[in-house]
Symmetry: C2
Subunit: 330 residues, 2 copies
DNA sequence: TTGAAAGCGCTAACAT
DNA sequence: ATGTTAGCGCTTTCAA
């Protein structure tokens, strides 16, 4: 089966020259080494004939470098990350890099294995949204000197980061409702314990306390039926404003609200942290905070590339502003 | 800066043994080769101390194999593909494979470059949803004997394929409306020319003709304003049933319908080919054909793995059934 | 104008 | 029980 790939040597033998000559020609250095036009043509032709493909590993082993960047994310099925890595991919491709996306499914163990692989493969750089607490990653990352940019979820102080100020933005949303909330429900998913969400919670809470707004922090079940009854209970309990802290929760909240048949925005108001394509098609449209996903991607790449050239700059944190999209639900 | 990584030899020298011994120990074959416990411990310790990380390229070059699979997709920001590659990733990870996702952004040139890279890196296998017409890909793929499974979008007759029967499924949707359409609008995006969509169009058209249903094939602009006026014109034109041929178009259609303030499903009905998380939260819920994304993923992996072991089976096409989700819009 | 040969880091067959 | 050595396929210096 494995009818061995053609190697440089095969071509050399067939043409009757040395490996070196073939290597020169195939790497476009034929003229530089004054190899005769005819010989060059012959070599190229033969390479084609034998459908020669250089061995990437041999090449990498020899030269040490690979034009490869990894993008490591927790959950690619989340629209936010999908959009992010699409942008990153496009940016990097323009610069001649291969980019591989690796989905960790929020599997911390996998993430760590991956970090080791990263070093093994001596890739050029990495953009990551870590699901691990950073402390477990940093030591691994420090063994290597490969540039890493954290996107969306921050690393530590000394690491580059591009994202938004979740604390501040969440806080500001508390004041975005058209009527001051009598009672505000701050909604999250039951399982997730990521930094970004924790920051948003903290931001919303602090702001409520500062402005003496009555609030309740609520975990919504993954099951829609359960979520519905939670929402229903909240309504009975006097909640008139809903702040969903990410797009997944927002959709669940919306479902719950719909099942309770509320008047929005007259009696009940809601805002989502994270926008979604579908939000503008609801009646009323769902007002949402849009994160500058593309800008996050673009800036992550920009930062990575500058890291790739000048090695010794200290880590920087880039906080990009969000935009509040007013639709009708708030 | 590049303070050279520690190699096997460094450890060997420090401990005072040979490279081979170190290699054995570090690969867990210490006992097999009867290397003394103390020496083993010492070697491992030293490796740790020097924070040794094996060189992936050297290893691959030597052994020929990499436990690596590529998943190549046209557009990762499409929920369908995002879900698909999440499933694939999880399945493959369980089997001990590294999976890299590559997003081509429907860039055909990039896709071809990638195919070459694929061969260069002698990865173990690939799952792909091609954006190129297959004829340009097949010759490249045939140069190698690396197993490839086509998911969602088929390759040629001899290649493995896992997906759905777009022709048949689209046809059946024509009959799924609660009232026989007076006039049916078949909606697509203005730009996309992918096989799957073409099949769906063909299926819907043929079925309309067979059942003498008046229909119109409509390209919806990417711009929502334009899309809205298109929809409005259709309504004026007597269209009472809308069949959106993928999730993107469905959302656009929905927006248009909403802007026209129609009564659904009394006067106007709509169905989407492709489900979306948000559909159940509209009023009425959007009835949709759900593709078995997870099953497509699972079966693609299953097929790839069997290809990986027994080499010489002929290509097979797996057509998985879809499920019609009745909500309220049809 | 071309070829020989060293060596990137690793594994495994073959010696001791 | 451990060391020696021959490559894997490629690039590149040095020699001819």
């Amino acid at each position: 089966m494995k009818e061995k790939r053609t190697s440089l040597d095969d071509i050399a033998k067939k043409v009757g020259v040395s490996k070196a000559t073939v290597s020169f020609v195939l790497n476009g250095k034929g003229d530089e080494f004054n190899i005769s036009k005819e010989k060059q043509a012959l070599i190229k032709e033969t390479a084609n004939e034998l459908s020669y493909v250089p061995n990437f590993f041999a090449k990498s082993l020899r030269q040490g470098s690979t034009k490869t960047i990894w993008v490591v994310l927790a959950d690619i099925s989340n629209a936010f990350y999908a959009e992010l890595c699409k942008t990153v991919q496009e940016q990097l491709y323009e610069k001649g890099y291969n980019v591989f996306i690796v989905n960790t499914s929020d599997n911390k163990e996998l993430e760590q294995t991956l970090m080791r692989e990263l070093i093994q493969r001596s890739i050029d750089g990495m953009i990551i949204s870590p699901s691990n607490k950073i402390d477990t990653l940093i030591p691994i990352l420090q063994e290597t000197h490969i540039p890493v940019v954290f996107a969306d979820r921050p690393g530590d102080e000394n690491a580059d980061f591009v994202g938004v100020d979740n604390y501040k933005e969440a806080g500001s949303l508390v004041h975005a409702f058209s009527k001051k909330p009598k009672k505000l429900a701050i909604l999250v998913q039951s399982n997730s314990h990521v930094v970004t969400l924790e920051e948003r919670i903290r931001g919303a809470k602090d702001e409520c306390e500062k402005s003496s707004i009555d609030f309740e922090l609520v975990s919504l079940s993954a099951d829609q039926e359960n979520a519905n009854s939670t929402i229903s209970a909240l309504l009975k309990n006097g909640v008139d404003s809903f702040l969903a802290l990410n797009n997944v929760v927002a959709l669940k909240t919306l479902g719950g609200l719909k099942s309770c048949n509320v008047q929005m925005p007259e009696n009940i108001r809601m805002i989502s942290f994270d926008d979604s394509e579908a939000f503008s098609f609801f009646e009323p449209g769902i007002s949402a905070l849009r994160q500058p996903i593309q800008e996050i991607g673009i800036n992550s790449v920009k930062r990575l590339l500058s890291r790739l050239s000048e090695t010794q700059t200290p880590g920087e944190h880039f906080m990009l502003p969000c935009e509040f999209i007013q639709r009708g639900s708030h």
